[in-house]
């Protein structure tokens, strides 16, 4: 059997391998989403609908985070929608890269998230971009939902969420989502300004609204910003972390 003329096997595709390990890493933290959602007062099916239909980690955490803090449904919905704005940019990038036609467009839109976009963008060969995007998108979708269900069921069985420090887990989750985006001075300044605006707003407005105050501050900064274009548009789990580390390893 000759392999030289055969199309590349999936197992041998670098994008496929990266996408697969990324799917596992990202899917796993669906456990924390499921457990936190239940601890925040969501029932099993509300939690599952967020993972199945909303399917964007940051926005899902935002929705339950606002509700957990006593915020209203409309504030939760607004925070989640604003945090999802970047997915529109990703959609444009993937559309330009892969040009999906017909029904595929509607499926690829659903799995257009930080990680699938980052996996595709890191490849230069169009076939590899396609493999990376679909493997990461569908792989994460399946695992994220399985692990959300496991987390929700476990959270239900745990009893008092505070005793297990689940409110601390939420703080850690948001910091972990923010962390990879704090590259350089301007992102730190934006984060600090928005954190300060939030703290100043807390005593004066209803729960959930301080987050929207921070969104306005962030929007104003963005309007006048001259920073690099992809700022804040980094994946939660960097598919090419090892490569990046190798490239910058000598400078430490």
């Amino acid at each position: 059997m000759s392999t030289s003329s055969a199309p590349m096997k999936l197992r041998e595709s670098p994008a496929f391998k990266i996408a697969l390990s990324l799917s596992i890493a990202t899917g796993l933290y669906g456990v924390s989403f499921g457990a936190l959602a239940v601890a925040s007062g969501f029932d099993f099916w509300q939690t599952m609908v967020l993972s199945l239909l909303l399917f964007s980690g940051g926005s899902q955490f935002a929705f339950i985070g606002v509700v957990a803090g006593g915020g209203s449904g409309v504030a939760a919905m607004t925070a989640s929608a604003l945090l999802g704005l970047r997915n529109g940019i990703y959609g444009m990038q993937i559309n330009a890269m892969l040009r999906p036609g017909g029904w595929k467009r509607y499926v690829s839109a659903h799995v257009t998230i930080d990680e699938s976009t980052a996996t595709a963008s890191g490849q230069s060969d169009p076939d590899e971009q396609r493999r990376g995007f679909w493997t990461a998108g569908i792989g994460i979708f399946i695992l994220w939902n399985i692990f959300t269900a496991i987390g929700a069921l476990a959270g239900d069985a745990m009893g008092d969420p505070k005793q297990w420090g689940l409110d601390g887990a939420a703080v850690a989750a948001f910091l972990a989502l923010l962390w990879p985006r704090l590259k350089g001075r301007e992102p730190w300044a934006i984060a600090a300004a928005c954190a300060l605006a939030t703290i100043l707003a807390v005593p004066f407005v209803a729960s959930g609204v301080p987050i929207l105050v921070a969104a306005v501050v962030a929007g104003v900064i963005g309007w006048f910003s001259h920073a690099r274009l992809d700022e804040g548009l980094e994946p939660d789990v960097d598919p090419y972390a090892e490569k990046h580390q190798r490239e910058h390893g000598g400078k430490k």
């Binding site: 509300q46 984060a191 005593p203 004066f204 209803a206 301080p210």
Partner: protein
């Protein structure tokens, strides 16, 4: 209104946002201002959500076990721990501090 309604609206908006990218002319979204706002909005909202969950309690600001979670998570991230380890560190720190009788 029922929480279910807001969940479903949020789901619809999330999907439509993604879909818009596939249907609007690339030129429109390639506008640097829109790209910047999408980026700063992400950073700003996540920073805000972090502090709200760390120190807000209704309309009050309190220092309790959640601050320990914030510090533990920052240390874990600084040590390049994976996401799930960071989350578990945060939970562990808050649970431990409560066990010791603080917050």
């Amino acid at each position: 209104m029922n929480l279910w309604v807001w969940i479903l609206i949020a789901c619809a908006l999330a999907y439509l946002t993604k879909l818009v990218g596939y249907f609007v002319p690339a030129k429109l979204l390639e506008n640097p201002r829109i790209m910047h706002i999408a980026g700063t909005m992400t950073i700003g909202l996540l920073a805000s959500l972090t502090v709200v969950n760390a120190v807000a309690s209704g309309q009050g600001l309190v220092l309790d076990a959640r601050i320990g979670a914030l510090v533990a998570a920052a240390v874990a991230l600084w040590l390049r721990a994976p996401f799930l380890v960071v989350v578990i560190s945060g939970a562990g720190a808050a649970a431990l501090l409560r066990l010791l009788g603080w917050g």
